[in-house]
């Protein structure tokens, strides 16, 4: 192994040099044998009047880290000189368990992984599995899934709005957003029976069709929800404190954003109009009329504007989906994959055999792989599944958008104040369940 100067995370190290360009701290070089020896210290630079840097640890158990993220900060007074994130404190081995489950059994795992976008993940997994099986779903199921994903986007952005406002100091939007979120929970609960961990889809269809009267409740929600968005907009968008605390923080240029792999609202806030629903469409999103909000500077304020605009666009999509909801079956009529209805299973011998085979051995996709990207509230989300013909996938890879967004936090927060770091961290909208899988 060649001797490499192990100045860790070199991209961070801009502030490690003093005026003459010599590293103020002697970098440790990893010797050939892996032994780490402090390199010969450069000439002792003059006493550093700014005083020693402070090393503080915003640890896994902290209200402002939105979960069990740990940030080790080297502070010069209040200014963040270097930020070293540590993740993995919520690593629960999702991908390993996926290799021991049949396809329909993995769906409950997709709720618990990104728990703010549970029903959205169910749909994403179902789409990926259906491509692996080579099935095209019924029109009614397509529109139902669009509704499910948009409701989930609204619910997820509301949690982001609530917690970001608490971090920056405004408590009321938290209560407003959770009030609206309870209404989304009611809708999901009537549809699937669970508030948050819905497991609403199956490979080839949905777990249940929507109850009657559900569309009226949704129509009522779509009609009254924009009032709350306007209220939040009126309260925050031109609020002196909010603007003062968010404008110009953690700005990422368009090229940096693309190179650092940001996706979703972060990428669009930096000016790159990449939305999976428009560029790599699924579920007939190209037939819906909605805009993709794009920011200019890529700072925390633009991300806030983009997400609030996305709330409005999701409401528009929900309204259009309500208009075009067709009748007809929800599940695909393919006995290889979808359980036959109970009445047929009990009466007709053929269906009973299919039912038995399906339950005991599970559906077997052909050998192959599939990766369907979906626009989750945090960015491009996708499940890459590799099958070797058996009922359990060989590999179930979850593409974690918020992990890659979080990996850019050292670049975003260096040179800003400690309180700005909290605002930037909130603006990335991280979900530790998805980051650590």
């Amino acid at each position: 192994m060649p001797t490499t100067t192990r100045t860790v995370e070199i991209a961070l190290g801009t502030s490690g040099l003093d005026a003459e360009g010599k590293p103020t701290r002697t970098p440790l070089t990893v010797g050939a044998s892996g032994a780490v020896t402090p390199a010969a210290p450069a000439v002792e630079s003059g006493p550093d009047l700014a005083g020693e840097h402070m090393l503080i640890n915003i640890g896994p158990q902290h209200p402002a880290t939105h979960g069990v993220l740990r940030l080790v900060l080297e502070l010069d007074g209040e200014m963040v000189v270097r930020c070293i994130p540590h993740i993995g404190y919520l690593h629960c081995g999702f991908e390993k368990i996926g290799e021991y489950r049949q396809y329909n059994q993995i769906i409950p795992w997709t709720d618990r992984e990104d728990y703010l976008n549970a029903i959205g993940n169910n749909c994403a997994f179902a789409l990926g599995a259906e491509r692996l099986f080579g099935i095209d779903i019924t029109p009614r199921c397509t529109v139902l899934r669009v509704m499910a994903m948009e409701l989930s986007r609204i619910a997820s952005h509301l949690v982001w709005l609530g917690t970001t406002c608490i971090d920056i100091g405004a408590f009321t939007p938290f209560l407003w957003s959770f009030q609206e979120r309870e209404r989304v929970y009611d809708l999901l609960e009537q549809w699937v029976g669970a508030r948050m961990t819905t497991s609403a889809t199956r490979v080839g269809g949905m777990a249940a069709d929507i109850p009657d009267g559900w569309t009226d409740k949704l129509r009522d929600f779509v009609r009254t929800f924009p009032k709350t968005i306007d209220e939040v907009d009126r309260m925050l968008t031109r609020n002196g404190i909010w603007v003062g605390r968010t404008v110009g923080l953690g700005a990422m240029s368009a090229d940096d954003a693309v190179n650092y792999g940001l996706s979703g609202s972060l990428l669009r806030a930096s000016g790159v109009a990449y939305d999976v629903r428009k560029d790599f469409p699924y579920l007939d999103y190209e037939t819906y009329d909605f805009d993709v909000p794009v920011g200019v500077h890529g700072d925390v304020y633009d991300r806030y504007l983009v997400r609030v605009e996305e709330l409005r666009q999701s409401t528009r999509i929900l309204a259009q989906a309500l208009e075009r909801l067709p009748d007809g079956p929800v599940n695909v009529d393919d006995h290889r994959v979808v359980l036959p209805p109970k009445t047929k299973a009990m009466s007709d011998m053929e269906s009973m055999i299919h039912h038995f085979k399906q339950v005991m051995e599970g559906a077997r996709p052909p050998i192959g792989e599939s990766y369907v990207a979906v626009e989750s509230p945090r960015g491009e989300k996708g499940y890459y599944m590799v099958s070797d013909g058996t009922a359990k996938p060989v590999r179930w890879r979850i593409r974690p958008p918020s992990m890659i967004n979080l990996s850019a936090i050292p670049k975003m927060t260096e040179g800003y104040l400690l309180s700005d770091l909290i605002a930037i961290n909130a603006s990335i909208d991280i979900v530790m369940g998805e980051i650590d899988r």
Binding site: I84, R131, P281, E286, D291, V306, S407, D436
Partner: protein, 229 residues
């Protein structure tokens, strides 16, 4: 809030539509596959299209060169690295496949690069961090889960598990689902992981700025003990 076109993107050659009735094996390959085969005839070993997604098998040592060309070439412009992962198959002879998912935002194309790593030789492949900064954590996670070392990565450490994790690489097929040790042993090791192991080498290096770093830590650090694998 104007809906801006993608920066510097050619007019989209087709209005993207939800794919329907995708053929299983012989779909239309991504044009970049042909360009790659023509540009790197010896590096590209195989191209196959499954469910409409193009996978290009690339020769390991030439990977960084291929990725750099895909990223820099004006006709390709694969400027977005979606994912880096690896797949180990159930039959022991089949090599482990390292997977790169690349996207070209201006041309709206999706490409999957694969490198086959023989299980018997040490798993090691070129790191694409010099080209895509997003590869940093993905490669660290791939190392943490599969044990594939990425040459040229600035700081290859475990990212999801703690650095003193002794049970091996979890996503390998020979790793039992509940781990190799008994539950109490796992708990004992987790609780006993030495405190300074929670701080990466660099943080200890910063902490050396204080004179009062506990002297046993400093002695071990100076003696060259390295936190992490």
């Amino acid at each position: 809030m104007s809906v801006a076109q993608l920066p510097g993107s050619a007019a989209p050659d087709y209005a993207p539509v939800t794919p329907r009735q995708l053929p299983y094996m012989n779909g239309t390959p991504n044009p970049s596959a042909a360009a790659l085969r023509e540009r790197f005839p010896d590096a590209v070993t195989r191209v196959d299209v499954i469910w409409g997604e193009t996978s290009v098998y690339v020769d390991g040592p030439r990977l960084l060169e291929v990725v750099r060309w895909l990223h820099d070439d004006r006709t390709q412009r694969y400027d977005y690295l979606a994912d880096i992962t690896a797949v180990e198959f159930r039959d022991p002879e089949r090599p482990i496949e390292a997977i790169w998912h690349l996207r070209s935002l201006p041309f709206r194309r999706f490409l999957r690069l694969k490198v086959e790593l023989d299980k018997r030789a040490p798993l090691s492949v070129e790191s694409v961090w010099p080209v895509y900064k997003s590869a940093d954590w993905m490669e660290r996670e791939c190392y943490d889960m599969f044990g594939i070392t990425f040459r040229g990565h600035p700081d290859l450490r475990r990212i999801l598990l703690w650095e003193q994790y002794k049970e091996g690489f979890p996503l390998r097929k020979d790793f039992p689902l509940r781990g190799r040790f008994s539950r109490s042993e796992q708990l004992k090791q987790a609780l006993a992981a030495a405190p300074e192991s929670r701080y990466s080498l660099e943080e200890l290096d910063i902490a050396q700025a204080f004179e009062d770093l506990p002297d046993d830590m400093r002695r071990r650090l100076a003696a060259g003990e390295k936190t992490g694998e």
